[in-house]
Symmetry: C3
Subunit: 217 residues, 3 copies
């Protein structure tokens, strides 16, 4: 089972940038919190790099973000951009949601493939992929002392990543080359996420906790 994935640096950096941008936009929406500039930058930063960091710590691998000088400035610049141009970006929410969905898919695929290539069993590999996909947003919420969105709103965020990475593993074990499996993972994750947004199961950044749902049978 060959699962070595060579992610082009620009793709990985783009994912980081989108995550940071989104994190900063999110944070800058909380005016009542009075974060200062650095606060918004840190939030963006954590959102963009958190998933990859958690992935590498869980895998016991050296954090990729620390392997070159590229990742950290990319995250910081994207976060600052998101903060400064928040007004400008706000009408583009829809576009950013699409980019973000792609990013979840990409992070899920990279995370799971990296775990597999390091010899981890299938289920932990899927778990690591999902953590990589959603870790940034969880870290963002912890840092902002917000309820963790992932656990409240519809949550097709994590579900989308899980379905995508399960598909990746299924395709790889049935002999598909990694590139094809990873592409399928990204597409499936993105589609599920976007359908979820579309069907209103969870608005991207919404955190209304008003929708009660019966939980016990």
């Amino acid at each position: 089972m060959q699962t070595e994935v060579i992610i082009p640096l620009w793709a990985d950096l783009s994912a980081v940038a989108i995550g940071s941008l989104q994190g900063a936009l999110f944070a800058s929406g909380f005016r009542d919190r009075r974060l200062d500039l650095l606060g918004v930058a840190i939030i963006g930063f954590a959102t963009g790099l958190g998933g990859g960091l958690l992935r590498d710590i869980l895998l016991g691998a050296q954090p990729i973000a620390f392997s070159t000088n590229w990742y950290l400035p990319t995250a910081v610049l994207a976060a600052l951009l998101g903060m400064l141009l928040a007004q400008l970006f706000r009408p583009l929410t829809r576009f950013i949601t699409v980019l973000d969905a792609l990013t979840i898919g990409l992070y899920g695929a990279i995370g799971t493939a990296k775990a597999l290539s390091l010899g981890f069993p299938i289920i932990p590999s899927i778990f690591v992929g999902v953590v990589a996909a959603v870790g940034g947003s969880v870290l963002r919420d912890i840092l902002m002392a917000l309820p963790i969105a992932l656990m409240h709103v519809g949550s097709l965020y994590a579900v989308a990543a899980a379905v995508g990475t399960v598909t990746l593993v299924a395709f790889i074990t049935s002999g598909m080359p990694i590139e094809g499996a990873a592409t399928a993972c990204v597409i499936i994750t993105t589609v599920i996420r976007l359908l979820a947004v579309r069907f209103g199961w969870s608005l991207p950044e919404q955190r209304t906790l008003r929708r009660p749902r019966p939980r016990t049978p």
Copy 2:
């Protein structure tokens, strides 16, 4: 000093399952938080696996939960069970408290023994054991954005684990075989914890922060 402990997989998995079950029960009690199904599952999951994960990250060891396909499904299933059958389990609180106390003792013993066997000094080994014992519940509280119970209520949770692991180390250094020392650790931790619950120093899941206590001499 031979401290290699071979924990049978079923024992370790049982501890994980009890932790997850308890975490999910705890989370499902917070109806006003409107966690969704996934949220409750994540809480259960973190409670059951968090301690072991923190232990392995602190020790720089590969997380045991990722070494086979067993741990993650066990945690998820136990969490879902706890959530779905919350009504059923609620009258069993007492029984679960006993299981949970056993789990703290077991995790403390495993954590400290693992640290010692990896060559860590005595005090850090005790610390890692305590973190392994209580880490799941701390992670649970952080994820739920609750005040960390450990730091508020009586806290014989951590104290019990500390006394147990200190005993473990004392017995091992005085030549007792690891099996005996570990058993003593589990018994002592469990007894202290249960006495604490019994004497009302801290109800297991209670988080009333109402009892002021003079703190300065």
Copy 3:
């Protein structure tokens, strides 16, 4: 580029003790939170050791705090001292602020130098230094479920560490021996931090979120 820094144990332990003391003082100020003794101890502990732990986890190195029996008792004793003698220490706020500023500088220098000596690139090394410098206080705020001070108040805390560690790297790459560069880092960080406190940009432990600042151009 020789960046091996041999930090004398007493210096490192002093930094840990100051951090723990300050953390415990901080925590004991929140009487309405009704932390118990252990809670205050944990807060102090996390504040004193958190930065170094995060640094070592990020670097994939064995946590230095676990390498000997000295660190953990030092942190616990300092935290207990801070808690018990809170009334006594409170008039010394100014003095503790100076010590704390020194500690930030020291942790920043150690963190960055350690990262460089392990072969990390420049920017990640600076990042790790800053995380080491501020990590303890961030951990403290997360454990207390407070808004993270770093992201709200003036934040010259992180800025001071960043300027200091950038200076360290600049001096090292231009050939200055590590001892000189580290000393410069500590001095610069301390001065910036103290000037910030002096100019009122951020009172050391203040967390009034009342100062609105326009954020978009």
